[in-house]
């Protein structure tokens, strides 16, 4: 459920809108970039937000600050994430906004996980807390 893509650690996951029964991706799993600079839960591109039906749900807006200091408006909707190979689900706010072109896994989701990144050995392991 975890791997490196180059030097970038990624988690294979499925996001779900429990209320409309929609998942992204609709089959299999998608790669989310582990981004410890992102203090949200999960960020997805706009098309994924739509495939999850979250554009049909009532949502909240929040400010996002990018790495280069720009402020963007984020739409937020509650969603559920399951990591590939596990059964445990993680609930939290899924956001989208301009310029978000890949799935970002933030510290809001990472706080429930123990990550073991070993760049020397080129290994990346993930386990649930506890």
């Amino acid at each position: 459920m975890s791997s490196f893509a180059g030097r970038t650690p990624r988690l294979m996951l499925t996001a779900k809108n429990e209320f409309l029964g929609l998942s992204f991706p609709s089959s299999g799993a998608a790669a989310g970039v582990v981004d410890t600079g992102f203090d949200g839960f999960l960020a997805v591109p706009g098309f994924a937000f739509s495939e999850l039906g979250m554009d049909q749900m009532q949502s909240t807006t929040t400010d996002g600050v990018t790495a280069d200091g720009r402020r963007i408006e984020l739409r937020s909707c509650m969603g559920c994430v399951t990591l590939l190979g596990t059964r445990k689900t993680h609930d939290g706010p899924v956001v989208t906004g301009p310029g978000i072109r890949e799935i970002l896994v933030g510290t809001g989701l990472l706080r429930t996980l123990r990550l073991k990144l070993d760049y020397c050995a080129g290994t990346f392991g993930v386990e649930e807390c506890g």
Binding site: Q56, T60, C77, T89
Partner: protein, 107 residues
């Protein structure tokens, strides 16, 4: 600051003293290490004890609440409430500003 007296295994004390020596044995360094270790432990314990709840809100009033989104979805279906007509919120405070880290590649 409060002085606290407690017993530690000899091995732990030796490790603390070794680390203090590596850090230069300056005054207060052991207290700092103990504080850092306990704070980390307590943060983790409090995090595990957190009981987040999710609610479906309509016009400022909670229509239903549950411990998970899946459970909340089941409740709304049982109540014949269209989930698109309510706002789903968490009991955890929402950060007013979200920092998008190095993964954001705006071009």
């Amino acid at each position: 600051m409060t002085n606290v007296t407690f017993a530690l295994p000899d091995r732990t004390v030796r490790r603390l003293q070794k680390r203090a020596a590596e850090l230069g044995r300056r005054k207060g360094v052991i207290s700092e290490m103990v504080d850092a270790a306990l704070t980390s432990y307590l943060d983790q314990a409090e995090s595990a004890a957190r009981n987040e709840t999710f609610s479906a809100v309509n016009e400022g009033r909670a229509v239903a609440s549950a411990g998970s989104l899946a459970e909340l979805a089941r409740k709304l279906r049982a109540m014949n409430v269209d989930a698109r007509s309510v706002l789903i919120v968490s009991s955890e405070p929402v950060e007013p500003v979200v920092h998008l880290g190095m993964g954001s590649k705006l071009r």
